[in-house]
Symmetry: C3
Subunit: 266 residues, 3 copies
């Protein structure tokens, strides 16, 4: 299969040192910032409504994550996403635990109306976001990725690209679908690894505006391979996280491209 896009998307991301603006949750701030820095992107977390819409105009991409949502933060998210969309700055939605409460469902409905470029969630979140029933309790997925393929497809009416992460990641833009077979279950034993992936996808998409689905696929290959490298020496979730950051820092375009395990379904 033709995977030459991986090297070019990877180089475009690294060359840009993308400034990624994050409106994320209280648990994830530190991890998101450290993952972006390890990947040589530049994180910002400005969130007050007085300045977030201005700040996003300086950024290459925006990542919105509803983890510890409040009404104040939601107002800021809506104003900032609206601005990003109007300026052609790509933005990515991470609908954390959308199925858990009515507040989250309503918030996501408002955010979807502002046309995210990418949606990234686990299977239960993608199912709940598409209005289908899911097995989740709290924030972890209780569904398989395969069970969310149809939901991902349905969500392409709201977003250019939909990403479902799990045992085998899935990317669809409504035309093509990619299955990415990388990563390790230990990624779910460290908090905010998914939130940080959303931010990284934002950075990749911001640097590859004309190939957003391919950019997301590349980010998933990079991220999953870094996890595999880290697991070769990790003793548990503490050391995994440390080696994961080191691996994200070390991995090169040719490594990521040559090791990629991606299947394209046209």
């Amino acid at each position: 299969m033709q995977l030459s896009f991986i090297e070019s998307c990877f180089h475009a991301f690294k060359d840009q040192s993308a400034l990624v603006h994050n409106l994320t949750n209280d648990v994830a701030h530190n991890t998101v910032a450290n993952v972006l820095l390890a990947c040589r992107a530049s994180p910002a977390m400005v969130h007050d409504i007085q300045e977030a819409p201005d700040f996003v105009c300086l950024s290459d991409a925006l990542a919105i994550n509803i983890g510890t949502l409040t009404q104040t933060r939601l107002n800021s998210m809506l104003a900032t996403a609206k601005m990003a969309h109007s300026k052609g700055i790509p933005w990515v939605l991470d609908p954390v635990a959308v199925g858990a409460t009515a507040f989250r469902q309503q918030a996501c409905r408002q955010l979807l109306s502002l046309q995210p470029d990418v949606i990234r969630g686990n299977a239960s979140e993608i199912l709940a976001l598409a209005g289908m029933s899911s097995q989740s309790r709290g924030i972890d997925s209780g569904d398989s990725v395969a069970a969310a393929h149809a939901a991902a497809e349905a969500l392409t009416q709201y977003a250019k690209v939909v990403v479902v992460t799990g045992e085998i990641d899935w990317v669809t833009d409504g035309m093509n679908r990619w299955a990415i077979n990388h990563g390790h279950p230990m990624m779910t034993q460290v908090t905010a690894i998914g939130c940080a992936l959303t931010a990284l996808i934002a950075g990749f998409v911001g640097a590859n505006k004309k190939a957003m689905a391919q950019a997301a696929v590349t980010a998933l290959c990079y991220y999953g391979q870094a996890a595999e490298h880290a697991m070769q020496i990790a003793q548990g979730p503490g050391s995994f996280y440390i080696h994961f950051l080191d691996s994200l820092y070390a991995l090169q375009a040719t490594d990521v491209s040559q090791q990629a395990r991606v299947t394209l379904y046209e």
Copy 2:
């Protein structure tokens, strides 16, 4: 002494993969989540008053920590603790630096009226919460655990179980008292290790509702032994935290039970 409860409390906790709902402080979010995940529990940090009382109904236990308190957060804590109590979902109070300001004292008085199942603090916090004079400045304890035994006893009028942590941890339910001799002073050189213990105790208590004191004792044995293992290879507080997470992930019921250094005072 009969310590057979350790293995059964430990298994009950691991089998449940407890969902622990946390209303905690800004410093502790990431650490609390990572400690719970390393122990195979599931953390959630939903805190807006619009959804926190609903969310706690999905959870196995609630941990409330007043570290970086605000009036908004306090309102959410009161509504969520009230809901938890009405549904029989155990909740644990961590009265961080309660002696430092009038705002904290008042907040704790309101929270105590909602009948926490467990209170967990350092010696100075337990003394201040019981209205006795303490030697603390800021958030660290200036008192010995032994100096807080009577205060712990007095607080059993508000909570089923009171835990004082320090050089030798102390647990009382007003009938029996346990002294747990595990851990290492390095635990005080890493932020939020105490806050994360509170969350872990919540998880253990949620999985062992009929033996809450024994569940807390088991959590303390597990936590303290993980710290001892970590110190065998740590070079300082940075590597200690990493190895501590790895040890929490690795420790098994038989290890924790066979190594337990617990003294029961009837």
Copy 3:
């Protein structure tokens, strides 16, 4: 050159176990607390306006960082800085990304009027704070430290000491200037390392009120040398951070003093 002050400033800091009160940003909380603890200082992050001005009176120093500013937090900063100044408790200002938005510029103007003892920023922030043009986008510096020497000098009308960090750190009190040649570029690949330095400088200044510039120079030597030690074994930004905390914990006064690379310009 006479650098005997390094040992005495270092000992004064360690002997005090300084309680450092932080009004910092959402990303930095955990890192600031862990850096202070690794250095044997005591961190506190109390920020509600109901208690922060009271709490600072118990503290040895205050660090204010505008990273993820909100109006509510700014109000608390202003009240707390005012109280600190009135009580003779030193306070340090970290003007994160001050050049990025009008909200930040206005906030800094208000904070400067409360007479910080020390200002600590990267070159772009110091330039922007002095009203000179800078090359920054977002939170990273786009200017050299040397380009900000004049701006630092200009800011001594607002603060007793101004610190510019970067490839060669610069400290001025308007009378003397010190260039500190320590550290490693990896420090910029981990989030909040600069924010934590601001808090550490606060601790050093709080313990050395009569030699604030020398205290800041000592903190920079200590911090930069810890980074150099960490880089001898680090594999990337993840392991760097861990070894950095371990090195901060291990370094002794004689090490820091004997290895110091400081140039004084009178």
